[in-house]
């Protein structure tokens, strides 16, 4: 395996032109990539490109309309950001519950996005806040909404030579929360997780509501039928039955499809009653 460590995006693109090897991995934090390495079985890429040193892709900055997160920003930096805590509660909370401290110091938000796991903890928050993913390729840059960028488990719209450079979040003053059900307090991959973004009037009625759930479909999914039912004013008990229309869970080593469906409805209901004060507490 050959190892390269470009210092800039230009250097990265120049490197790509010279490479002839067919299998190549991009290394950011490495926390999803490295557990899959099996040198004994030859399951290694021919080329590893370590992008962690590329300039200008780290850190959280703000302007009047947006918060912009560099793709190489670590989950620990997101967890510690007061800006994120104040304005993007679901992302801040997801970072808090993300793996353990050792992994948070390495794992990057760009890596979590490109890994495109159906269970990725950072993703539901990005979906409900309708994050835009900024990509830089050899022929220029483009921007795609997160829900269009991820197309399947481990699959994204990333073209050869492109990397994620930034994540853009609009500052709309929307509140959000994140909830994760795992088999262990930390390091656990979610059995189900979700983020809720909402605005409420002074009576507690929703003026906007957006929910995205993970681990219940090939990608993160919006719970549109459930949200429509809630917004139409039906009772929480009735609305919760619509969740099954939005999801398509499977059986795997962590849980069965039935369990995921039941668990998601239960923890959603819990959050609506106790965190959002809907129905009877």
């Amino acid at each position: 395996m050959k190892y390269f460590r470009p210092n800039s995006i230009d250097e990265y693109h120049e490197l790509l032109v010279t490479l002839k090897e067919t299998s190549m991995s991009i290394l950011a934090g490495g926390t999803d990539l490295m557990p899959r390495w099996e040198p004994d079985k030859g399951l290694m890429p021919d080329v590893l490109i370590d992008i962690k040193k590329i300039d200008g892709l780290m850190g959280i900055r703000e302007n009047e309309d947006e918060i912009i997160i560099g793709a190489l920003t670590t989950i620990q930096d997101i967890k510690k950001s007061i800006l994120m805590q104040n304005e993007f509660g679901s992302l801040s909370e997801a970072a808090r519950q993300f793996a353990g401290v050792q992994i948070r110091h390495r794992a990057t938000i760009g890596g979590n996005i490109c890994n495109a796991s159906p269970a990725g903890d950072i993703l539901p928050g990005l979906y409900v806040h309708q994050a835009n993913i900024q990509l830089i390729g050899p022929n220029g840059s483009r921007s795609i909404p997160i829900s269009k960028f991820i197309i399947g488990p481990g699959k994204t719209m990333l073209e050869p030579g492109e990397i994620v450079s930034e994540i853009h979040l609009l500052r709309k003053g929307v509140k959000s929360l994140f909830y994760k059900l795992g088999l262990r307090q930390s390091m656990a991959i979610a059995v189900v997780n979700f983020a809720i973004a909402y605005q409420q009037d002074s009576n507690g009625a929703f003026t906007s509501l957006n929910i995205a759930a993970g681990s219940v479909a090939p990608t993160i999914v919006y719970l549109e039928s459930f949200v429509d039912a809630i917004m139409s004013g039906v009772s929480l008990d009735e609305a919760i039955q619509h969740v099954d229309i939005d999801i398509s869970p499977i059986d795997d080593i962590r849980a069965t499809a039935d369990y995921r469906s039941t668990a998601l409805k239960n923890v959603l209901e819990y959050n609506f009653r106790h965190e959002l004060h809907q129905g009877n507490e």
Binding site: M1, T31, M34, P35, K52, G100, Q102, R106, S186
Partner: protein, 157 residues
């Protein structure tokens, strides 16, 4: 294959040697530097027993390519005490009996030291959360957390 000559700074000593481009820091520490205090548990980023400090931050050495550690400072469990003088975290793990088989202990120490240095006033709940990336299969954690509370008290004074 891709052997590379590198210099690695471990516990304040600089070591020149050859490494494979695909080897992990855990492998390098244990098999090239014979620093076997760092333990290989799950080798897939779940158990925390291979935790070391990279530029002062706790990371899992089983998930860190060695080539990425060039020009950085690595501290392992062997670099925590000064001779016979144990770090408060080590001292109270011994005093409180915060270990049985001891396999997870180096990882616990390497996670707890930077955590308590950064959060000397951490509550019991915060200590538990800070250590949640480290598995212990013997003690049931109570004595470990007791030890870290005592260590925090000494580090505050």
């Amino acid at each position: 294959m891709g052997l590379k000559q590198i210099e690695l700074t471990v516990n304040d000593f600089s070591h020149p040697f050859l490494v494979e481009s695909d080897e992990t820091l855990l492998f390098t520490l244990r098999n090239r530097l014979y620093l076997t205090g760092t333990k290989e548990g799950c080798n897939q980023g779940t158990c925390g027993s291979c935790t070391v400090l990279l530029d002062g931050k706790p990371v899992l050495s089983c998930m860190t390519p060695t080539l990425r550690c060039v020009e950085k400072k690595v501290i392992t469990i062997e670099g925590i005490s000064s001779g016979e003088n144990l770090h408060p975290v080590q001292k109270y793990l011994v005093k409180n009996g915060g270990l049985q088989c001891g396999f997870c202990t180096p990882g616990v120490v390497m996670t707890a030291v930077p955590f308590l240095e950064e959060n000397p006033d951490a509550s019991r709940r915060e200590i538990k959360e800070g250590l949640s990336g480290n598995l212990c299969r013997c003690t049931g954690y109570k004595k470990i957390i007791d030890a870290l509370e005592n260590a925090a008290a000494e580090m505050r004074s």
